[in-house]
């Protein structure tokens, strides 16, 4: 019995990277909640941490840090226009199975230099890897273009950010970076992942949740619209009629 337990434990350790435990990341966020209020116009999140070591600083290439903040994963329909009978029409479409609504990667050096392709594949760190697209329709041979378009459009909207060299590391121990969340943020459970890499390989990773929520009036209106749709519809109409009547009455009074 004891022997079996020991062997499973040993097996578990054997599958872990050999150098795990040598360097560990401890990190925190300046805030664990982002409240979307009526005057929300974006927010800066400060991410900071330290590397815990039990052994002396290893030889070789320096320690690098990658921070990835991701919004909830949702499917997206990507459509492409082409010219049909002289006018531009949506013709082809690819459904991307899941793409983060927000995705920012901050690194301490150019991403391709501090992360190998295999490690990227394993941990899904870079933006193209964070998007999952399988099974484009057979009529579309260039589904890669659709994923690229998705990244391009969201990068323009500042929803996807690649911030290379923005993580500051001091003495290979302390690090910090700041990620700005844009004003057109959607709510949900965001995750912040922090990776330590050496020579392109991930040494340790840390993950924490960032709660992005509408609060106050925004929350009340959103819930009402979805849970009491009929009431909400009437409320909108009453508001419209009252405003129209009010303005008319006010102007009539002004004239007399």
């Amino acid at each position: 019995m004891l022997r079996r337990l020991l062997s499973t434990l040993l097996l578990a350790f054997a599958t872990l990277p050999a150098d795990l435990g040598a360097e560990e990341v401890v990190a925190g966020l300046s805030q664990n909640q982002v409240a979307i209020t009526a005057n929300f116009d974006g927010s800066d999140i400060l991410i900071f941490g330290a590397v815990k070591r039990e052994a002396p600083l290893p030889e070789g290439p320096p320690l690098e840090v990658i921070v990835a903040v991701s919004g909830p994963q949702v499917p997206v329909m990507v459509r492409r226009k082409s010219r049909q009978m002289g006018i531009w029409v949506n013709t082809d479409s690819v459904e991307v199975d899941s793409a983060p609504s927000f995705y920012a990667v901050a690194t301490s050096a150019p991403l391709s230099e501090i992360l190998t392709n295999t490690e990227d594949l394993r941990y899904k760190i870079s933006t193209p890897r964070a998007i999952r697209s399988v099974g484009a329709p057979a009529t579309i041979s260039d589904s890669g273009n659709f994923t690229e378009a998705l990244i391009r459009i969201r990068t323009e909207e500042e929803l996807y950010q690649l911030l290379e060299g923005t993580v500051e590391i001091s003495d290979q121990t302390l690090f910090s970076t700041s990620i700005s969340l844009p004003a057109n943020l959607t709510e949900g459970d965001y995750t912040a992942r922090i990776f330590l890499t050496r020579d392109g390989a991930v040494v340790d990773a840390y993950e924490t949740v960032l709660d992005v929520r509408k609060v106050g009036l925004e929350r009340i209106l959103y819930n009402l619209a979805h849970q009491q749709a009929l009431l909400y519809g009437f409320l909108s109409l009453i508001l419209a009629i009252a405003a129209g009547w009010g303005a008319s009455a006010a102007f009539a009074a002004l004239r007399n």
Partner: protein, 305 residues
């Protein structure tokens, strides 16, 4: 000053929204059009998601139309009986239009169809109105030239005649019912009040006097857009009450100003201006279809929220 909209989930400038509402309100009061054909594309332009723009635009039009119609009621330039007949046709048309819309949505290409509808209808109506009112202005300029008010056409030979005292008409109810139904169908498909179609139809087809047309059209628009708003609120949850509030704060004030401007201008001048505006929007939409877009790809989130 920025404000985050709870349903649209974007942050926009407060004053920009109120200004947009005001501009559309002025047009609404002047011409008796809801302004939806202008407001909805403008909302797209400032980054409001299309579904939210269409639904909230309808709600805003309710407000500016109420404001406008009250001003007309005080001046007794609303033909209640004609409004009732148009509305009866309108509700039937809107119900049919919603069905058509859903069928097209199932086939995809609903965006294209809406744009094509806009281009075709705005183009035809704008051109007709422009030519007609320019001729009217030229005629009015010549002394001694007589303007024939009532043209006798097929409309006057149909059965079930009814007296419309405010409009000074004694015509069959069939043409107004048909106009109402057509507008209902179009407003459901295009997400607008339909004033830009109804106003010319009332003037040219039914022969109603221009000063009655605007108020009567607004009356009909209130009911059609209220119906559309409810439909969107219940089925798609895309009415943004905060966005509507800001738009209508500007809109209701604008509508009052527009009504005042409208009474100061001559009917022909009013029609030339409206025709010019309709053609402008039509031209812009046509260019979008004909020119190669900067970004060929577009995104639509699925199953979100």
């Amino acid at each position: 000053m920025q404000i985050y909209l709870p349903i649209a989930e974007v942050s926009v400038n407060l004053l920009l929204l109120m200004g947009l509402g005001g501009l559309v309100g002025v047009l609404s009061g002047m011409f008796g059009v809801g302004g939806g054909f202008l407001l909805t594309p403008l909302l797209f332009f400032i980054g409001i998601p299309p579904a939210v723009a269409v639904a909230t635009g309808a709600n805003q039009i309710v407000a500016s139309s109420v404001s406008g119609v009250l001003a007309h009621l005080r001046r007794r330039t609303v033909d209640m009986r004609m409004g009732g007949v148009l509305l009866a046709g309108g509700l039937v048309g809107a119900a049919a239009g919603v069905k058509i819309f859903n069928v097209l949505k199932g086939m995809g290409q609903v965006d294209l169809l809406v744009t094509l509808f806009y281009v075709v209808f705005l183009g035809i109506i704008g051109t007709l109105m422009f030519v007609e009112s320019l001729n009217a202005i030229r005629r009015a300029g010549k002394p001694g030239a007589r303007v024939k008010r009532h043209k006798h056409n097929w409309v006057h030979n149909l059965p079930i005649k009814m007296k419309f005292r405010t409009s000074g008409l004694y015509i069959s109810v069939i043409p107004p019912l048909m106009v109402g139904a057509l507008v209902g169908v179009l407003s459901a498909i295009m997400g607008v009040g339909g004033g830009f179609i109804m106003v010319p139809a009332m003037i040219y087809l039914l022969g109603m006097p221009t000063k009655v047309v605007v108020g009567t059209s607004l009356l009909q628009i209130i009911f059609v857009t209220a119906f559309t708003t409810m439909l969107h609120a219940v089925t798609n949850h895309t009415v943004d009450i905060l966005l509507a509030l800001l738009l209508l704060l500007g809109g209701v004030v604008g509508a009052q100003i527009g009504t005042r401007i409208g009474t100061k201008l001559r009917a022909e001048q009013l029609r030339v201006l409206l025709a010019g505006l309709v053609l402008l929007v039509c031209g812009k939409l046509a260019l979008e279809l004909l020119l190669r877009p900067q970004e060929l790809y577009s995104l639509a989130p699925l199953g979100a929220g």
